[in-house]
Symmetry: C2
Subunit: 337 residues, 2 copies
């Protein structure tokens, strides 16, 4: 059985930042984002380079908020959706920090937070950054079709967010800080779903399995949490996940939501099943969730980063799409330090 990791030193989020594109800025969470470029190009001439620049801007903002210079980073854990994760490697090269490249599809933000927390918790690192991003235009032409084709999208399709989130984790807690107290790393779950326009359904079983295992082992109940957020199942996947959990007798109630559902107004923004991409849960967490923490409105949150593990080639070869779901517990420090 997977075990809940209980971080002995519960690393704190020293600072975080998020940057987004036009559609994300216009969405219901627009006010929570630190930076937006309405052209989606971030001053670059290709979509891929725009995504790298988006990561660079986001990490720079997080460092600035934390009063840190790049040399103070002991490591960066980063990833994105692009082939060979070039969004991160080109975007973060200039920081000069030790670099660990990750690939967890849309679960990358949570994967990075777990690995970053492990590194700090063990005591060998003092300060690390966890960064992830996605860009709608770089993802569409890589995974599906160039945008210029104007392909129709089915209602279950999600909209890859043009967004990035960066978190700086540190050893030292401070009053009011948000700490990574627990984690439950995901395992690969394959239920044979092969419709690449319905990633939500492919990831939902993994999310349900992680949440169910968490509450089976934990001394908490859903009512202890202000929010339980998957990221990113979208409307379709979130409904499937809810059903799977209810069938097992676990009702997470109104606090159960999804970063992909929160990022856009699907009715007016034509985003079909909601947001996705490594930048979706990263920006919703670094923007919306962290600002709710800072304002004292919430104290305890479960973030379940979900990823669909496939490639265009694996889909063409008829393989099923597996899902993975990494759980991270974020708890606000309310004790005097």
């Amino acid at each position: 059985m997977r075990k809940i990791l209980k971080f002995k030193n519960a690393p704190s989020v020293l600072s975080c930042a998020c940057a987004v594109g036009a559609k994300e800025k216009e969405g219901p969470l627009g006010e929570y984002f630190d930076f937006a470029d309405e052209s989606d190009s971030f001053g670059k001439s290709t979509f891929e380079q725009a995504e790298s620049e988006l990561q660079r801007i986001t990490l720079n903002l997080a460092l600035k908020k934390g009063g840190l210079s790049p040399e103070m980073l002991d490591a960066v854990f980063a990833g994105d959706l692009m082939n060979q994760c070039v969004g991160s490697s080109y975007g973060l090269a200039g920081f000069g920090a030790p670099f660990f490249g990750l690939y967890g599809a849309c679960s990358t933000a949570a994967e990075g937070l777990i690995l970053g927390a492990l590194a700090v918790d063990g005591g060998l690192f003092d300060t690390v950054a966890c960064v992830s991003s996605s860009h709608n235009s770089s993802a569409e032409r890589q995974f599906r079709f160039p945008l210029e084709y104007g392909s129709q999208r089915p209602p279950t399709a999600q909209w890859t967010a043009t967004a990035s989130g960066a978190f700086i984790l540190t050893k030292k807690p401070f009053y009011g800080c948000v700490r990574i107290t627990e984690a439950l790393p995901g395992r690969i779950v394959d239920k044979g779903i092969s419709d690449q326009s319905n990633m939500g359904a492919a990831m939902a079983p993994a999310a349900a399995s992680t949440l169910y295992e968490y509450f089976s082992q934990s001394d908490t109940v859903p009512e202890n949490f202000d929010m339980i957020l998957t990221g990113d199942l979208g409307n379709e996947g979130h409904a499937v996940c809810k059903e799977l959990l209810c069938a097992k007798g676990l009702d997470l109630g109104e606090r159960f939501n999804d970063c992909g559902k929160l990022l856009y107004d699907c009715k007016t923004q034509d985003t079909h099943s909601g947001g996705s991409g490594c930048g979706c849960s990263a920006s919703v967490t670094a923007g919306y969730v962290m600002k709710l923490f800072e304002s004292g409105k919430i104290n305890d949150v479960l973030l379940v980063g979900t990823g669909a593990l496939m490639s265009p080639s694996s889909v063409l070869q008829g393989l099923g799409i597996s899902g993975i779901a990494h759980l991270v517990r974020l708890t606000r420090e309310t004790e005097g330090m």
Copy 2:
């Protein structure tokens, strides 16, 4: 400045395994590999699925040698060269272990060993696996041309190995075991090299920088090590790295070699500058190096995993190819436990 990580509990390699294709089996290290499929297909009908199967076989072998069942793994750290790292996600889905996907190009084996060692060293994990692979045919058609085109390769080009290596790390040391005692994680180094047929030259500056920083900080000298191995710079990159280090006054002597140089006989096997790919340093280390350790012929080794951080798209867009080099120190336990 990057700091050498000194693992407090120095995780041990409980067991390891490697599997290769036909060309690797025919090479100078053929006798050291645990398993070889001379068809390179590993019983599968596509090159990509063959690579996944290669990883599955390798991890299974490592588990068997260690007397472990998959449920005993607290986590798997794995990666490969394929888009979206599907070699690992399809290959390792069946093990059911918590899964962290990595992307570090040819440095993935070393990246995995560092993250696996961090996870065990910190005390939250008991037993983890680090797995990586590459397959010549899946890599060639993804990064360059389908093999059927018969494209000519320049002398500086390396040959992507059809190979995989798996290491099981555990907390408990035992007499004669090999421990991960230190690490120096790599940073991204971009010297503006853009020839994708000369990855060795693109990675050499990163390897030189990591080795130079290691010996600047360490209380060791090159003479303390039986082998100092980069993986995989090939003939061209290794010569460049040697020159860069000598120019800085650091002569590593005859003990300085490269996994890509060791894997093939370039003169008779037509592999030009030597081996590369996530499976090259993984299989050379899990096969050749670990068997030398076991036989007591060597006691202390530096492995410097090197990766070229680029994608076919980034090269077409005219971006330089950055390199990264993660150092891992492997030390044989010669004290009575």
